[in-house]
């Protein structure tokens, strides 16, 4: 019951927060110089045609009016149209958001697979080569630009060795993509039982996922290591050791108690990567949501940017809510 009340209280703040986020991004993007009407009709358009198009696009009211109209449309599920793709933003994002989510989720999973074992090992063996390697890896992962690492991987595995597919999207042009259900190619091709598409999409995922995994393992490693160190020095670990429990049991208990901070860092990274993976998306021509938003900003295309900001804000709110529920599940003190 307390849990339900808690979720209710959280949801109460979501509305105003979303309106605030939309308000700021609306005015920010409106400030970008560039008139969509001119950009759409080209330099030789007549003033009449320009004025007509502006009225059509709702660009002739005051900014406040425009914002209120936009907000009203959003409430009815209409995020407007992108003048670049000429499609409704909801349709564009329905194609692109799953692409980004698939990439980011797999990237973070790989980062967890690298970061947690290294972090645990680094905390357990406080001296020695492994700890040094873990420390340097953490620093190095934070220093490498992801877009550059992506290029290096492309050079080695595509250009030199020829074992990776060309960095041109999520699936070969020659292969028919599966019927979209979730939008994630791996899942959709499994649903359709289309193994050719599955393996092809998986092949295209390898390099970008490895890029994101290698880079984001850094912060996960650091967080795991520092929390584990604290837990291994805590009284309950000392007590377990004194009782003569085997090492792996002590480690497991310490790791169990380190989970909340690992969950926290993963949620922060997840929220960040929805927009932050855009550079990797560009390098691999991924056609993801971040890329869509950046194109929107660079071309004064308001609706895609607002749509993206709205989607990612909602998504991070959902993630934070899920994280809080996970805390409830794994940390008895919060109950």
């Amino acid at each position: 019951m307390a849990l339900l009340a808690y979720i209710g209280r959280r949801l109460l703040f979501v509305g105003p927060q979303l309106v605030g986020i939309l308000l700021v991004s609306f005015f920010l993007v409106k400030l970008i110089p560039g008139d969509p009407a001119v950009l759409m009709l080209g330099p030789f358009a007549t003033p009449d045609a320009l004025a007509r198009l502006r009225t059509e696009l709702g660009l002739d009211g005051t900014l406040i009016e425009q914002f209120l109209i936009y907000l009203w449309n959003v409430l009815q599920g209409d995020l407007g149209t992108s003048w670049q793709t000429t499609l409704p933003v909801t349709i564009d994002l329905a194609q692109r958001f799953p692409a980004t989510l698939e990439l980011v989720t797999l990237g973070l999973l790989l980062a967890l697979l690298i970061g947690i074992p290294l972090g645990v090992a680094g905390a357990f063996f406080k001296r020695g080569l492994l700890r040094k390697a873990a420390d340097y890896y953490g620093l190095l992962a934070g220093a490498l630009p992801d877009f550059w690492l992506a290029l290096v991987l492309i050079f080695v595995f595509y250009t030199m060795l020829g074992i990776a597919p060309a960095p041109l999207g999520r699936i070969d042009f020659a292969i028919l993509p599966p019927e979209p259900v979730t939008g994630a190619l791996l899942i959709d091709s499994l649903i359709a039982g289309n193994w050719a598409a599955f393996w092809n999409a998986a092949g295209h995922l390898v390099l970008p996922v490895v890029t994101l995994g290698l880079i984001n393992a850094g912060p996960i490693l650091k967080m795991t290591q520092s929390t584990m160190e604290r837990m291994l020095e805590a009284d309950f670990s000392r007590y377990a050791e004194m009782c003569g429990l085997p090492r792996h049991v002590v480690l497991r208990k310490a790791l169990r108690n380190s989970l909340p901070s690992i969950v926290t860092i993963v949620s922060v990274l997840y929220g960040f990567l929805i927009g932050g993976a855009v550079l990797v998306e560009i390098v691999f021509s991924w056609g993801g949501a971040g890329q869509y938003a950046v194109q929107g900003v660079l071309n004064a295309d308001l609706n895609p940017v607002l749509g993206f900001v709205l989607y990612s804000a909602v998504l991070s709110l959902v993630i934070y809510l899920i994280v809080d529920l996970i805390y409830f599940a794994i940390d008895p003190r919060t109950r």
Binding site: Q17, G20, I21, V24, S25, L28, V29, L31, I32, P33, L139, L140, G142, A143, L144, P145, F147, W148, L151, V152, I154, F155, Y158, T159, M160, A166, P167, M223, S226, T227, S261, T264, I265, S267, V268, F272, I274, G275, G276, V278, L279, I282, V283, G290, A293, V294, V297, L298, A300, V305, F308, V309, S312, A313, S316, Y320, V323, D324, Y327
Partner: protein, 340 residues
């Protein structure tokens, strides 16, 4: 959302509750102690070495660079590394080594200026918010408003936000600096706020208040000096991030424009070449970028230890122990600094 800042706050509190005066090893100069630390921790020395080298390269670039960094030479395009182009040439025939040497002029300027602006503005506002948040009245209301505003700012996808700022202000050095400053300011705001909120509860602050000291004087003379250490530690790490952000902005074409030598835009220029096997236009600037950020990260981790009185003392103790262990006879005289 606040959950993400919890560990930082925990560390921060530890810093301020430790008395500062006893931290320095007795009878030693700060410089000698610093040199001894560098000797005991070679990776810190590596970090300071890298940073010094990059700064020197930026200052003396015209003397060091073998070629003009923006001089295109269509006759010698995409030359592999060799003589006279040690790192080869790019698709327009510009010398890559010279461009790599000139690049920190732009990258460091943006990163330093952006980080300093965000640190000063962010921590001043953060200090005020932290100080007034617990008081009732207008101050508390304004503080709450600032925090909600910073929540909204932080809910934005960082990168899209930075690009939008550059797009609004027009593509120039100043707008990139402002974008970097804007994106980083909330970090300092939160850090300083949590610091000030814990320092505020100290007895000496209460004493000053009872003695009738004005709010402004309490803040500037008693609270901020005791809350500043973690902010300093954050600075160096943040300069590294700022360099990465600058390069990323230039990479997608929203930052420094070609042909100005800048690492991110150089990597972008070599993007097409790398697929055809010409790796050098992208690899070298990327390496330079990574090494530089790595150097700032190492300096950052050294500052983290040295600015924290407890950890500094622990380090000094370790060094002293090791020195004694290697001494041939007898215990070292008390108060020796290890810098001989």
């Amino acid at each position: 959302m606040a959950a993400g800042h919890e560990p930082m706050r925990a560390v921060a509190r530890e810093v301020t509750t430790t008395p500062r005066a006893a931290a320095r090893p007795a009878g030693s100069g700060r410089l000698l102690f610093f040199l001894a630390v560098l000797r005991a921790r070679p990776n810190y020395a590596l970090g300071y070495g890298i940073v010094t080298l990059v700064v020197l390269l930026a200052i003396f670039a015209p003397l060091v660079a073998p070629f003009d960094p923006v001089q295109a030479n269509p006759a010698a395009y995409l030359q592999p590394p060799g003589w006279p182009h040690l790192m080869g040439t790019d698709a327009t025939g510009m010398d890559i080594l010279s461009r790599v040497i000139y690049a920190p002029r732009i990258d460091l300027t943006i990163a330093l200026a952006g980080t300093l602006i965000s640190a000063v503005a962010g921590s001043l506002v953060g200090a005020a918010v932290g100080y007034y948040q617990t008081v009732r009245g207008l101050g508390a209301f304004a503080s709450g408003f600032v925090m909600r505003a910073s929540d909204v700012l932080q809910a934005f996808p960082v990168f899209v936000f930075a690009i939008a700022i550059v797009a609004v202000l027009g593509q120039s050095l100043e707008s990139i600096i402002i974008a970097v400053a804007f994106v980083n300011a909330p970090i300092y705001l939160r850090l300083m706020r949590s610091q000030v909120m814990s320092v505020r509860r100290m007895r000496y602050v209460e004493a000053a208040y009872i003695a009738g000291t004005s709010d402004r004087e309490i803040l500037t003379r008693h609270v901020i000096p005791n809350a500043i250490a973690p902010v300093l530690a954050q600075l160096s790490v943040n300069i590294g991030w700022a360099i990465l952000l600058t390069a990323a902005l230039s990479f997608i074409g929203a930052g420094v424009e070609a042909p100005t030598p800048e690492w991110g835009s150089m990597i972008a220029m070599g993007f097409q070449n790398i697929i055809t096997g010409h790796w050098w236009p992208s690899i070298f600037p990327g390496l330079a970028l990574a090494v530089t950020v790595f150097g700032f990260a190492l300096v950052g981790s050294s500052v983290e230890v040295l600015a924290d009185p407890a950890r500094r003392r622990a380090l000094a103790g370790q060094m002293e122990q090791r020195r004694r262990a290697t001494l041939p006879v007898g215990p070292a005289p008390a108060g020796a600094d290890g810098g001989d």
